[in-house]
């Protein structure tokens, strides 16, 4: 059953077949897209018509490849921008939250921590609609009271950033908090007894210890933001993010350029994941 116990041959083989089938199930959709991205055909599926890079580079109206499709490139860029701002904001606030809940004692701490964890169990749809409702009400209220129209409170780029930040911060808090649990408090106390202020001890002692977790959390937040659809769709203005653009193309204008984009995403994610794994291994 486990490494150290002997097993019947049938059991071992059966188990291995199950594992192989599972990995086949896992890889199949990704592998299929990666191969079909190079298919010389005007349809997204089989038959295989030969190798071609048209869906990456072609520039005709019949075949608009990925690198010639301005709309698609713009939405990729919007997603990268969104991901960057979301990752930056949530890393900042999430790290603050981790330090707050791990190191400070105050009233209502348990309740606030419960609130900070709530995004884990709130469906993304609900976060999207509730932030849409409240920002719209806030926008109307501010316009009526002060006569100022704030564009960011209606569906827009910055509302998407806020919406994604609202749950990414939770993940950062958990990732950084997990590392903070392993932190040796006496190091901070030593810094304090050597006359460092509380802020100095955090900046020079605690933060360097947390750095790998903070970098990891930044990447995780970026990736979550980059692939988010459920919350984003309600908050989006005229700047489409990549998942929303992909969704509307799947529904309304299916061309093999989707294969090419998906191929690029898969490659990009695989490389990022590898970097993240190696970086965290080095820091262990």
């Amino acid at each position: 059953m486990i490494r150290s116990l002997p097993n019947s041959k049938l059991y071992t083989i059966g188990y291995r077949i199950y594992i192989s089938l599972f990995y086949l199930f896992l890889i199949m959709p990704l592998l299929t897209i990666c191969i079909l991205a190079f298919n010389d055909s005007n349809f997204i599926a089989l038959p295989w018509e030969g190798f071609s890079l048209d869906w990456f580079f072609s520039d005709t109206t019949e075949r608009l490849g990925l690198f010639a499709d301005i709309d698609l490139l713009v939405s990729i860029w919007t997603s990268i921008e969104t991901g960057f701002f979301v990752a930056f904001l949530s890393t900042l606030v999430g790290t603050f939250a981790a330090l707050l809940f791990e190191e400070e004692k105050f009233r209502f701490k348990g309740f606030l921590y419960f609130l900070a964890l709530a995004p884990l169990v709130i469906p993304g749809v609900i976060l999207g609609i509730s932030i849409l409702l409240s920002s719209t009400s806030a926008g109307i209220y501010i316009e009526d009271t002060f006569g100022i129209y704030i564009e960011s409170l209606s569906p827009s780029f910055w509302l998407v950033v806020l919406g994604q930040f609202s749950f990414c911060a939770t993940y950062v808090m958990l990732l950084v908090g997990a590392r903070l649990k392993k932190f040796d408090r006496t190091l901070e106390e030593a810094a304090l007894s050597l006359r460092a202020t509380r802020l100095e001890s955090i900046w020079y002692v605690t933060i360097p210890f947390l750095r790998p977790a903070i970098i990891g959390a930044f990447i995780v937040a970026f990736l979550i933001s980059f692939s988010n659809f459920n919350t984003t769709i309600f908050l989006i203005g005229s700047d489409l993010t990549l998942p929303v653009d992909l969704y509307s193309r799947i529904r309304f204008s299916l061309t093999p350029v989707l294969n090419a984009v998906s191929f690029m995403i898969i490659i990009f994610i695989t490389i990022t994941a590898l970097i993240n794994i190696f970086a965290s291994r080095k820091n262990k």
Binding site: L5, L120, S134, N228, Y247
Partner: protein, 285 residues
């Protein structure tokens, strides 16, 4: 008695409070209030139960609600059954040399994102999709099997995009299980089934519960898989919420439905936490 606070305390708590109040508490209060707002015949907005009444009056709504709940629970159980042997294999069976690479493979579909993987299934399952073409090429079938736009394809999509979130917590729970317990049970003559149900699964219960909660939450709140892979009869409750917000623009009605969905998911999650004796804090770790 108030202790004198350090400046760092305020530096930390102010942004955290801003986050929690403005992006979590107030929006959900607003969701709750909006769900009772109703425009009467005179065109005035009044507070009423009408939005909730229409949920109960129209059978398609509560039918979809129950269907979504039933499917979400079933697919969560299915995800457990499918992934538990994998988690066990990766932590206890396969040699350590391969396990980290095999675990890394599991993470890639998660990070690639739902849109791409669901699209991949659409390409695979279609009438002229890869699977049908392959089966026809082999001569096993003559006409394509209809798989896309059915409940079957919807279930595959929901299972695929959620099941990996079950493996990770179960693996970390199994990691702490001492191999010698399994060895001892085996030496004393316990069968594999007995070991699995009396030792391994009870030990992994915290991981199973937190994985189950995450998986359930992802499925019940999902829109992409039911919408792209499901057929016309594959009703899903989130689709109705999307329609109220993005198609018919009846936000108060959508808010009421959203609130019902939130109650459903929180209720089930709360029940699971109570039954398994877990705390929400553990779900995150």
């Amino acid at each position: 008695m108030m202790k004198k606070r350090n400046i760092s305390f305020y530096l930390f708590i102010v942004p955290v409070l801003l986050w929690l109040i403005f992006l979590l508490v107030l929006p959900h209060i607003d969701l709750f209030i909006s769900s009772f707002q109703f425009e009467n015949d005179a065109g005035e907005t009044v507070l009423s139960f009408n939005n909730y009444m229409s949920f109960f009056e129209d059978s398609i709504y509560w039918y979809t609600f129950l269907r979504t709940a039933f499917y979400s629970i079933s697919i969560t159980l299915l995800a457990f059954v499918v992934t538990f042997p994998i988690a066990f294999y990766l932590t206890k069976v396969v040699s350590r040399k391969y396990s980290s690479f095999m675990t890394l493979l599991l993470l890639i579909p998660i990070w690639v994102g739902e849109l791409v993987t669901i699209y991949g299934w659409m390409v695979l399952l279609g009438d002229h999709g890869v699977i049908n073409s392959f089966l026809i090429y082999l001569g096993i079938i003559d006409t394509p099997i209809v798989m896309l736009y059915t409940d079957f394809s919807m279930i595959i999509g929901l299972l695929y995009m959620s099941m990996l979130f079950m493996i990770v917590p179960v693996m970390s729970a199994l990691d702490s299980l001492d191999d010698s317990l399994i060895e001892a049970a085996s030496d004393l003559g316990a069968s594999k089934w007995t070991i699995a149900t009396r030792i391994v699964i009870p030990h992994a219960m915290p991981g199973i519960a937190s994985g189950g909660i995450i998986v359930f939450m992802l499925i019940i709140g999902d829109y992409v898989a039911p919408n792209i892979l499901g057929g016309k009869s594959s009703l899903w409750f989130t689709e109705q919420i999307y329609n109220f917000f993005l198609t018919t623009i009846d936000w108060s009605q959508g808010a009421a439905f959203g609130f019902l969905l939130l109650m459903l998911s929180s209720g089930i999650i709360w029940a699971v936490l109570k039954i398994t004796g877990q705390k929400l804090e553990r779900v995150g770790s």
